[in-house]
């Protein structure tokens, strides 16, 4: 085993071409998996020393968040929190205060967990991941990164260097809620993110709803977004959205929750998140 601290993206990509190489950013998933024996990497590629990876920068009115930026750093960035409160609260729900000091949004994405708290709000936000690899740079929508539990669409040698959150129009708001049995420290049993943009008349002009922990990957539910569009979140619109959410759920039964529970609660969370996002967008019911 060896530990490498590449100084350039090309060097990192070349290290990652080696057998059993793993990216280390916050390490809060990697070290747990090493401890349990699920992973035994030969090369640990610490990407925190690459230029720009620990920065949050403004770009085209949006935000580019380096892949090594911790959740705590995101939570401390006032402008980011104001623009994308749902995305930040999703990331900030990962683990404890201690984990927040290390865990990254990009790592949460690349770990490929269906229950990742940091992912649904990114999908609802239309976030785009920037990848570096042996063949150069490419941008991929976050929604296309996870492909199944523990699996991603990243090619060999590729890694995420940053995630871009687009500019916010006026009258927009997002929110993320998850259900856990305790108040902290659990993996989501179900999660729902809602991102809304309101028209000048206060009705929903654009809506995106994304779910976590109810399918092999976090996913957007376009029918749920469509159900909200044109409404002011009146009961029939909410009910239609909840129905669409539950129809899209394909969860598993496990130690954390049952199929019925996850499906039901995903609807409840989506409803509640929609109301929060609506209020954040300045909506009046």
């Amino acid at each position: 085993m060896r530990y490498a601290t590449p100084k350039t993206a090309a060097e990192a990509a070349s290290l990652l071409m080696e057998d059993a190489a793993r990216v280390l950013a916050g390490g809060t998933d990697l070290l747990v998996q090493m401890k349990s024996g699920r992973l035994a990497p030969e090369t640990i590629v610490d990407i925190k020393h690459l230029p720009g990876l620990r920065d949050i920068t403004r770009e085209d009115g949006g935000f580019r968040i380096g892949a090594a930026v911790s959740g705590a750093e995101m939570g401390e960035h006032t402008d980011l929190v104001a623009a994308w409160p749902g995305v930040v609260e999703g990331v900030n729900l990962i683990g404890s205060t201690q984990v927040q000091g290390r865990a990254t949004m990009a790592g949460n994405l690349c770990n490929g967990s269906p229950a990742a708290d940091g992912v649904p709000a990114q999908i609802a936000a239309g976030a785009v991941a920037r990848l570096e690899g042996p063949e150069g740079t490419r941008d991929v929508p976050v929604a296309e990164i996870p492909t199944g539990p523990g699996k991603t669409s990243l090619k060999r040698g590729e890694f995420v260097t940053s995630i871009f959150l687009p500019a916010r129009p006026e009258r927009s708001g997002d929110a993320y809620l998850r259900f856990i049995p305790r108040t902290e420290m659990d993996i989501a049993v179900a999660g729902a993110a809602v991102n809304l943009v309101l028209g000048a008349d206060g009705t929903v002009a654009e809506a995106r709803v994304a779910l976590g922990a109810v399918a092999p990957t976090a996913m957007e539910v376009p029918e749920a977004g469509a159900a909200l569009t044109g409404s002011k979140l009146e009961d029939p619109a909410i009910e239609a959205m909840v129905d669409a959410v539950r129809a899209a759920c394909k969860p598993i039964d496990d130690k954390r929750g049952t199929v019925e529970f996850r499906t039901h609660v995903a609807g409840v969370l989506a409803k509640r998140a929609a109301r929060i996002a609506f209020a954040r967008a300045g909506g009046q019911a």
Partner: protein, 746 residues
């Protein structure tokens, strides 16, 4: 000189001084099980079964033994076969002999130059298993066609006709049940199930062993009882007790879970074989898979009540499983079930059945929480059905002094009615509730024990005192023992230092369990102090040239007991100590005895919870504990016991349980999915300490550590029923279970 048997006028008892081991524990200096290292030390690791139940066909350790850096490998072949059955079970649990009985059962261990080599060596050990059918649930295990975990282990008390998995049977009670039920206006009969919970101490089991080929050894470990470790390890290792010195480290929580051994004999065997010291520390996953959780249970309760709330008859059938070896925890549950009630007709029946789960070990009031949960749930349901106040009904039926308890013993002075009355009078009982909130209460009970203790109290020439005792300090006992010594001697708390000794430094003390330390070691300390006072009075008498009987000890000094005794100024402890060498030599008091008279302890918990009707999530929003402590020596640490027990009970009620897959593999061997309560899950835990003196102790002390885990299970279930309109009969009341109950209710 004579001493008052009962003392009332306290100077130190009841105050709240800083504990003597406090600074070490807030600065990181205190040494726990894994904190000690030795020169030349090896690191050990244990290979564990991946199957719930399997025959061990073959273990080939040759490849591991041949690896560079591996210094010893042991399997069950490296241990003898103890004659005593309990010891044999303990040894088999530390290292499986013929069969693995649960997921995580140890099969081999290695000691190597570092952890990486040890881990790699485990992978090189080849074990051939022949998988056997397994059984996980107690009700399944009792069926005639259940897979047999062990054969031929049923005690003679078990009636014929049961599966061989049924190993223990017990029955308690008195009176005519049929007549009692016939007189009832309402009879309610319910069945309950509870999940197995783990003590959840934050410190994994850890030890450092050093043993030579001559059988002389030293062991440093985190345990609730160094003498227990010595007896058990000496038995398993076939060495003499005197040759094994066991030093207890600071202990990072136990709650009963460190009253046996899991790894210590393995570390000793590795050290003996390698000829070097060996450190062995469990991972958290190993703690969950292979140390002892508590029982899981299935219980039927039937109670008859008249319209005015008088219980006319009560019966409980308790089926417990403590995993893969026999145990008597069902006896404790069956005796405790109806302890809070004065009943004319009562019967409890208890069974233990073997399952392919880890060997149960005590967890705070073992057997009682699940039994009383079932009983207190039914009593509460009957109060609801009859429209009666739940405190009034309990007061009406409450056990009191002179009550013949359901387990046959007539109570001395007890504090149950006082705690119920305190609960009823407390503002919490009548405080308004918010939407989706409900309030529940439950009684709780624990026996409390005395037992063996050795204490030496040495008087130093500078007027200070050392108390040497043999019970690991698990939550502030050094402070309470120092306070007791100071109180008895009439000196300041800061003049006393109490230390917990290794097994060679003082005689035997029983394990720190059964809520016994403050009572038993405290009692021994009182007697050791009185012994020292008698000796100091004799020294003063000798100096004064008067009869020792004419000297008494008052306010930290010897003085003539009356005008006829002579006129001498009092001699303080410091003055007598200063001339001790000149008056006969060093002064020390001793006491060694098997104490009795530990008074039982009752508590009442009052709890408000709020249930989210859309998700089934529940949160405890207010909590108050009322408990009789007899006499609180250090009220802070009494409150701490009440609070800590309450929160463990809250965890048991709401989230904690061992979850098994169809394959018999434990699904949640980690804090992540075992889900003990975290700080944000909880409100403040308010406490009200009642002091109904225990007649068996000169200060009136009762044990307090265990009763507090008993009431929360039913208190929360009862609050759930009253707040959300659903009565859950299975623990934990996890959100999926609550939500499905809510949806079934409509």
């Amino acid at each position: 000189m004579a001493f008052d048997e009962t003392k009332h006028d306290y100077k130190v008892i009841g105050t709240r001084p800083v504990r003597p081991d406090g600074i070490d524990k807030v600065t990181g200096r205190a040494l726990y099980g894994a904190d000690l290292s030795a020169p030349g030390m090896l690191t050990a690791a244990i290979l564990r079964s991946p199957h719930a139940h399997a025959k061990i066909v073959k273990i080939d350790t040759s490849k591991a033994e041949a690896m560079a850096g591996v210094k010893a490998v042991v399997t069950s072949r490296d241990f003898g076969l103890p004659e005593d059955q309990d010891l044999r079970d303990t040894q088999d649990n530390c290292m499986a002999r013929d069969k693995v009985l649960y997921d995580g059962h140890a099969v081999a261990a290695v000691a190597a130059i570092n952890a990486q080599v040890a881990k790699a060596a485990l992978k090189a050990i080849e074990v051939e298993y022949e998988k056997l059918p397994h059984v996980i649930d107690v009700d399944d295990a009792m069926k005639g066609d259940a897979p047999l975990v062990l054969e031929g282990r049923a005690l003679e008390t078990v009636p014929e006709g049961w599966s061989q998995n049924v190993t223990n049977y017990c029955e308690f009670g008195h009176g005519d049940l049929d007549d009692g039920f016939a007189r009832a206006d309402l009879i309610v009969e319910r069945s309950f199930k509870t999940g197995a919970t783990h003590q959840g101490y934050i410190e994994p089991h850890a030890c450092l062993a050093s043993m030579g080929p001559d059988g002389r050894g030293e062991l440093w470990c985190c345990t609730q009882g160094q003498y227990m470790v010595r007896e058990v390890c000496a038995g398993i290792m076939e060495i003499e007790a005197s040759q094994l010195k066991v030093t207890p480290s600071e202990i990072g929580g136990g709650f009963g879970g460190k009253t046996t051994v899991f790894i210590e004999p393995v570390a000793l065997a590795l050290s003996r074989k390698a000829g070097r010291p060996v450190k062995l520390v469990m991972t958290r996953e190993e703690v969950f898979r292979a140390s002892g959780p508590t029982i899981h249970s299935s219980t039927d309760v039937k109670i008859g009540m008249t319209k005015d709330g008088t219980i006319t008859a009560a019966r409980a059938d308790l089926r417990y499983s403590g995993g893969c070896y026999p145990n008597g925890t069902c006896e404790m549950g069956a005796q405790a079930a109806f302890a809070p009630y004065d009943l004319k007709a009562v019967r409890t029946y208890g069974w233990n059945a073997l399952t392919n789960r880890p060997k149960e070990i005590s967890y705070r009031a073992p057997g009682a929480p699940t039994a009383i949960y079932a009983v207190e749930s039914v009593v509460d349901e009957m109060c609801q059905k009859l429209g009666l106040d739940p405190v009034d009904v309990r007061l009406k039926n409450a056990a009191d002094k002179g009550t013949k308890s359901s387990y046959g013993v007539t109570f001395e002075d007890i504090g149950l009615k006082a705690t119920l009355e305190a609960a009823k009078a407390h503002p919490h009982y009548t405080a308004p509730l918010g939407p989706n909130q409900g309030r529940g209460l439950s009684c709780g009970f624990w026996f409390n024990f005395g037992g063996n203790a050795s204490v030496t109290l040495s008087v130093n020439t500078d007027g200070t005192v050392n108390v040497t005792e043999g019970n690991p300090d698990i939550g502030g006992s050094r402070a309470s023992i120092s306070m007791i010594a100071a109180e008895e001697l009439g000196i300041g708390y800061d003049r006393v230092r109490t230390i917990v000794a290794d097994t060679t430094s003082i005689g035997h003390s029983d394990t720190t369990d059964g809520s016994r330390v403050t009572f038993t070691v405290g009692l021994a300390t009182i007697k050791a102090a009185r012994d020292a006072k008698t000796k100091m009075c004799a020294r003063a008498a000798a100096l004064w040239g008067i009869d020792p009987e004419a000297v008494e000890w008052v306010d930290g000094a010897a003085q003539p007991s009356g005008p006829n005794a002579g006129k001498f100024p009092p001699m303080s402890l410091a003055e007598i100590a200063a001339v001790s060498f000149q008056t006969g030599g060093p002064i020390a008091g001793h006491h060694e005895s098997n104490a009795d008279g530990a008074g039982v302890s009752f508590g009442v918990h009052l709890c408000d919870i709020e249930v989210d009707p859309e998700t089934g999530a529940s949160k405890v929003v207010r909590y108050t504990v009322f408990q009789d402590a007899g006499k609180a020596i250090h009220p802070d640490y009494v409150e701490g016991q009440l609070q800590g027990g309450a929160v463990q009970g809250i965890g048991w009620a709401l989230n904690e349980e061992y979850i098994y897959g169809e394959d018999g593999i434990l699904q949640n061997p980690g804090f992540l999915d075992y889900r003990v309560p975290v700080a944000s899950d909880l409100p403040p835990i308010d406490t009200v300490i009642l002091e109904v003196p225990n007649p068996g102790h000169p200060y009136g002390v009762r044990g307090v550590g265990e009763t507090s885990i008993v009431p929360p299970l039913a208190a929360i279930a009862n609050a759930m029923s009253r707040g959300a309109g659903v009565r859950l009969t299975q623990l934990p009341m996890s959100p999926p279970r609550v939500l499905s109950a809510l949806m079934a209710k409509g």
